[in-house]
């Protein structure tokens, strides 16, 4: 049985729904020795800011049961270096490269969107309003529907013809209200979810395992939370949702599509083995054939409830 893994996302053709999550796949190039980048549905690069950022002090990662905590603090090379040294080496004609944006305030977000929207090799902008590891900006935008909406609007205005994705935080009481506000503000798609805030401590040294004390939890441990969030958001908004959180197999991908996601991102699982995303993309059509799923559009959101 031949299956169709292609997906329609605003403004970009996507050959399959398997993308990589920001911050877990470097700038893509780091993973090129482990598979063909062109076989992926999309590559979301490490969060970019206008100026390079140093990030948080060490230690900034810790392992937890079925997951990990990180407090990288958005270390990145800055947008200019990315556009000059990294983007030209990525296969952007064959695979959408999505820029993940971080800034301290709405004006800076808009400025960054302006810079990136001029780039042919950037397929979409993913606005990170949900990073738990930075003091200014970050999660504050993602916890208030009004601010999330205004930010989406400010970015959209400067994004030219580039689709704008807003990346939601699970660290809120009602993710649906933020999702609605972002779409009303102009978001073309929603990425769902960023990490959950968490903590890990050592009873012997009596120290936190992260210098930042608190970090973002990711990995298989958060999959049920992500699946629930994607399900709730898909029920509430018509904009496409890109599911992320704990996905580590083709089976997981189908779970997210079943609850309504258009595409998915592989995050922490890229650390389990650097060819993970490639393997999942390769396995997906086989799994679809085994389950008799001809195309993803007809399978999407077909969860039988009640």
């Amino acid at each position: 049985m031949s299956v169709d893994t292609s997906v329609r996302l605003p403004g970009m053709p996507v050959k399959n729904p398997v993308m990589t999550a920001s911050g877990t796949f470097g700038y893509g190039l780091e993973f090129a020795p482990y598979g063909d980048l062109r076989s992926l549905g999309g590559i979301v690069v490490k969060g970019l800011s206008l100026a390079p950022r140093l990030g948080n002090p060490m230690p900034r990662i810790a392992e937890t049961p079925c997951g990990m905590l990180n407090a990288i603090g958005l270390q990145n090379c800055g947008v200019e270096k990315f556009l000059r040294d990294k983007l030209p080496r990525l296969p952007w004609r064959e695979t959408p490269i999505i820029a993940n944006l971080y800034a301290c305030d709405a004006d800076e977000f808009a400025e960054l969107a302006g810079v990136l929207s001029a780039e042919e090799g950037v397929a979409a902008l993913e606005v990170n309003i949900s990073c738990p590891n930075v003091k200014a900006g970050g999660i504050a935008f993602g916890q208030d529907p009004c601010m999330a909406g205004k930010l989406a609007e400010a970015v959209k205005k400067r994004a030219g013809d580039k689709p704008v994705w807003v990346k939601l935080s699970p660290n809120v009481t009602d993710i649906v209200s933020i999702a609605r506000a972002a779409v009303l503000g102009g978001a073309d798609a929603l990425t769902c979810i960023n990490t959950l805030t968490g903590m890990s401590v050592d009873i012997r040294s009596r120290k936190p395992r992260l210098a930042n004390v608190i970090g973002g939890l990711s990995g298989p441990a958060i999959k049920p939370v992500a699946l629930r969030a994607v399900w709730q958001v898909c029920q509430a908004v018509s904009a496409p949702v890109i599911g992320v959180g704990g996905i580590s197999s083709a089976e997981d991908v189908l779970e997210f599509i079943l609850v309504g996601a258009h595409a998915v991102q592989i995050g922490t699982a890229n650390f389990m083995r650097p060819d993970m995303a490639f393997r999942i993309a390769e396995r997906l059509p086989q799994l679809m054939a085994e389950l008799g799923i001809e195309d993803l559009a007809s399978y999407r959101g077909s969860l039988r409830v009640g």
Binding site: G26, I61, F271, M272, E282
Partner: protein, 265 residues
């Protein structure tokens, strides 16, 4: 199914206690068949993830290449937590996923008198260093350890290198004497090359002494790593310019003057 990539599923040939008391002190050799990793520079490492990890632990584990031949990859592993415990309980026939060789290895200068400073399990990369050095008579090894000497591949190395000396640290009072020994040695090699691997406090001492005596020295860092390939930014260390650099790709071996070593990792 033909799968892409440089990750290899390798079969365990053997897991053996290092020396008669090795098992009691958690020291093992793990031998993997037909690694197919090409050639390596001593000090480079591999990421290892046994199939039985499943979804927990999530991360693979980094290990120095202790010995690499076309027939086998040997790791020298000391049990210190969940992952190493699982690894050392594997049996012949089990499979582990391995990728590498990763990172930057030690400089090798055949004609330069070279001092190898190793602490505990930090001896592992020097087995490969000595085995691949064209003039092992130019090598001098100082090895600090806590477990009995027979738990480490020390005797084999002492047989091939020019000079070798071991120092067992049993009590806190031994530490100043060990540092004194390091001081004498580093001073002696100020005109040569010094390569070091071991616990962070040990490396910080080596770095301090190298600066004091103006010696050319390299240290290999064992920072916590999630991906090993430069993708997570979890393993960083501050360089001389105050920027964070990935120890998995730009290290683990650095010239001491390239770094601002801090106590935390």
């Amino acid at each position: 199914m033909a799968l892409s990539g440089a990750c290899r599923d390798l079969t365990i040939l053997s897991v053996t206690e290092a020396g008669p008391e090795g098992g009691a002190h958690g020291c093992y050799y793990i031998e993997l068949a037909n690694p197919g990793l090409g050639s390596a520079v001593a000090g480079q490492f591999v990421m290892v993830r046994p199939a039985c990890f499943g979804q927990d632990p999530v991360w693979p584990r980094p290990f120095s290449i202790c010995r690499l031949t076309p027939e086998a990859l040997t790791l020298f592993v000391q049990v210190c937590g969940r992952g190493t415990d699982v690894l050392c309980r594997l049996v012949p026939g089990d499979t582990v996923t391995v990728w590498g060789p990763l990172g930057q290895g030690f400089s090798l200068e055949p004609d330069t008198p070279t001092l190898m400073l190793a602490g505990g399990v930090g001896l592992a990369p020097f087995v490969e260093y000595a085995a691949t050095h064209p003039a092992p008579a130019n090598l001098d090894l100082v090895f600090g350890h806590r477990q009995p000497l027979s738990c480490y591949p020390f005797a084999e190395m002492a047989a091939v290198v020019g000079r070798a000396q071991a120092f067992q640290e049993n009590t806190p009072e031994d530490l100043p004497r060990f540092i004194e020994l390091l001081e004498t040695k580093v001073a002696e090699y100020a005109g040569g090359l010094i390569v070091a691997c071991g616990p962070r406090p040990f490396l910080m001492t080596v770095a301090r002494l190298a600066r004091r005596f103006g010696a050319r020295a390299q240290v290999s860092l064992e920072n916590r790593m999630a991906c090993g390939v430069g993708g997570c930014l979890g393993c960083v260390e501050k360089n001389a310019l105050g920027q964070y650099v990935q120890t998995c790709t730009q290290g683990p071996v650095f010239w001491v003057e390239e770094l601002q070593l801090s106590e935390e990792a």
